[in-house]
């Protein structure tokens, strides 16, 4: 059986002969949560945008359920780095906009029910009629997540969704996200900078290295290592650091980021 998502020999080149990354290949199984970690500039966001269909690879292919990804699709929901809510819509209208795009023939009541369900899922029932400008950063990002889930995509792409949040809020939303993902058996591909976030959420972590100049010449960015998360799937943020396998696993990733991500 072939994988749910296959990425084959992806490359992106802006300057000739100096691809940002090259030979990026990986696969994601249905229901899997995969995180990608790497330093700024290694091209992770470009990889995600190519998966979303918002950017085009210079080389290589992406297949989802054995069909090539060409352009954006409702099958792949995206949570953007800066929430990307429409400020002229209320919370409910923002989500309804997505729901109506997914199911254009739904009637008003059905759209409303779907919107209410997903607003409640991220705990924002009371804020459904508020404008994004009246919400805190964490609440806005929750709406972004609710919007992506509300169209029930086959693959959810998260571009560093918690990067701009404070640590406490981030923790709460990570828990919420994990709960929803486990409940819906959603397949997720997520970019993060935060090692603990990746350890908490991911089943598998892709470690990406930056492109750099070596004595042997320029070496493009690539997926340097792929590590399976050894921790039990039923982990929580509060008890994570008490697990025996936690520190060795964390050290492995941090070592990569500190010593090998740039200078391989």
């Amino acid at each position: 059986m072939s994988a749910f998502l296959r990425v084959e020999r992806l490359a992106k080149t802006y300057q000739p002969h100096k691809p940002v990354f090259q030979d990026v290949s990986f696969a994601i199984q249905r229901g899997e949560f995969v995180c990608i970690i790497g330093h700024s500039g290694c091209g992770k966001t470009t990889v995600l945008n190519i998966l979303a269909g918002l950017d085009v690879a210079t080389e290589g292919y992406v297949f989802m359920e054995n069909r090539e990804v060409a352009g954006p699709s409702l099958d792949r929901g995206v949570v953007f780095q800066g929430h990307a809510l429409m400020p002229w819509f209320t919370v409910g209208q923002n989500i309804a906009f997505a729901v109506r795009s997914r199911w254009p023939d739904w009637d008003r009541a059905r759209v409303h029910a779907q919107v209410e369900h997903f607003v409640a899922l991220v705990g924002l029932g009371a804020a459904i009629d508020r404008k994004p400008s009246e919400l805190s950063g964490g609440m806005k990002q929750r709406v972004g997540i609710a919007r992506a889930f509300a169209i029930q995509p086959r693959l959810l792409l998260l571009d560093e969704p918690f990067g701009a949040l404070d640590a406490l809020t981030r923790g709460t939303i990570q828990d919420e996200l994990m709960g929803i993902v486990r409940e819906t058996t959603q397949t997720v591909f997520m970019i993060t900078h935060d090692v603990d976030e990746a350890i908490l959420l991911a089943d598998r972590i892709l470690l990406m290295s930056n492109g750099n100049e070596t004595r042997a010449g320029y070496r493009p960015g690539r997926i340097a290592e792929v590590v399976d998360n050894p921790l039990p799937r039923e982990r929580t943020r509060a008890t994570l650091h008490h697990l025996e396998a936690y520190y060795p696993f964390r050290n492995q990733i941090v070592d990569f980021l500190v010593s090998r991500a740039k200078a391989v």
Partner: protein, 288 residues
């Protein structure tokens, strides 16, 4: 809050004070001066002779410029009966204003119909922007009144020419602002629309239009201001009806009180139009 209210109150008091000083100065400047050569030493025959020569020694000579009182009386007179119609050269101020506002509304609406869709096109397509830019740059700085002879020659109808002049002067700020607003819609909102596979019509009306609306409304507000400036001049040229024609007609009548009244009306109506667009602008502005 209390401080703001205090400031508003003080500003209002100062405004009233300035107005009083202005009216006072006006009154002093236009106060009647004593007539020529009046004196007790004239015989009745001499007085009668002077009267026949148009130099009434008993009467007081005015400088010709109306006093605040006279202007106030004119204002009351006009406003108490704004809609009378006694032939082509004697219509109430309401009717004249109606004609002017009608022309502005028509020319401005036509300009909206052209400028906003065209602005969308220019804003969305770099090709269109580059190819139309030279035309816009050349046509934009032309005084709308310079078009008047061409308009009169081709359209032949003076009233329609007036509307055309309003159209041509309103079109540019709206076009430029719409194009700019549409071109600077945030990439992330367009990406959301892309990933949701939103149809181009829904994208235009639900994403781009609301995102660009504040900029578009700014353009419309500027256009309306210019249109209101230009209508007065245009009506002075084409004549017939309208507040501009009223000014010109009263100048020919040497009725400065009516001219002053008309000038005030133009100012107040212009302010109201600007307030209306300011209100619309606030209604579509979003906090990001």
């Amino acid at each position: 809050m209390g401080l703001m209210r205090g400031l508003a109150l003080r500003a209002a008091v100062l405004s009233v004070l300035l107005f009083a000083v202005f009216v006072g100065a006006w009154q002093v400047a236009t106060a009647p001066v004593a007539g020529v050569a009046s004196g007790p030493g004239l015989s009745p025959e001499q007085i009668e002779y002077a009267r026949m020569m148009g130099k009434d020694p008993g009467a007081q000579k005015s400088g010709g410029f109306p006093t605040p009182g006279q202007v106030a009386a004119t204002i009351v007179g006009h406003l108490s009966d704004p809609f009378y119609d006694k032939g082509p050269n004697d219509k109430g101020i309401g009717i004249q204003l109606g004609h002017s506002l009608g022309r502005v509304a028509l020319g401005f609406s036509l300009a909206c119909l052209v400028a906003i869709p065209l602005g969308f096109l220019i804003g969305m397509s770099p090709l269109m922007r580059r190819s139309l830019d030279p035309f816009i740059q050349v046509l934009k700085p032309i005084s709308p009144l310079a078009w008047m002879p061409l308009a009169l020659y081709t359209i032949k109808d003076s009233s329609a020419s007036g509307i055309f002049v309003i159209f041509i002067c309103s079109v540019w700020p709206m076009l430029v602002n719409t194009a700019f607003g549409v071109a600077s819609v945030k990439r992330e909102w367009l990406n959301v629309a892309l990933t949701l596979e939103v149809s181009s019509m829904r994208k235009a009306f639900l994403v781009i239009l609301p995102a660009a609306a504040p900029t578009i409304l700014t353009g419309m507000r500027i256009s309306m201001g210019i249109a209101w400036l230009v209508i007065v001049a245009a009506e002075m040229l084409v004549g017939g009806t309208g507040i501009g024609y009223f000014v010109w007609n009263e100048w020919n009548n040497l009725s400065l009180t009516n001219v002053i009244f008309a000038v005030l009306v133009i100012g107040v109506v212009g302010m109201l139009l600007d307030l209306a667009f300011g209100w619309l602008q606030r209604a579509v502005t979003y906090v990001d």
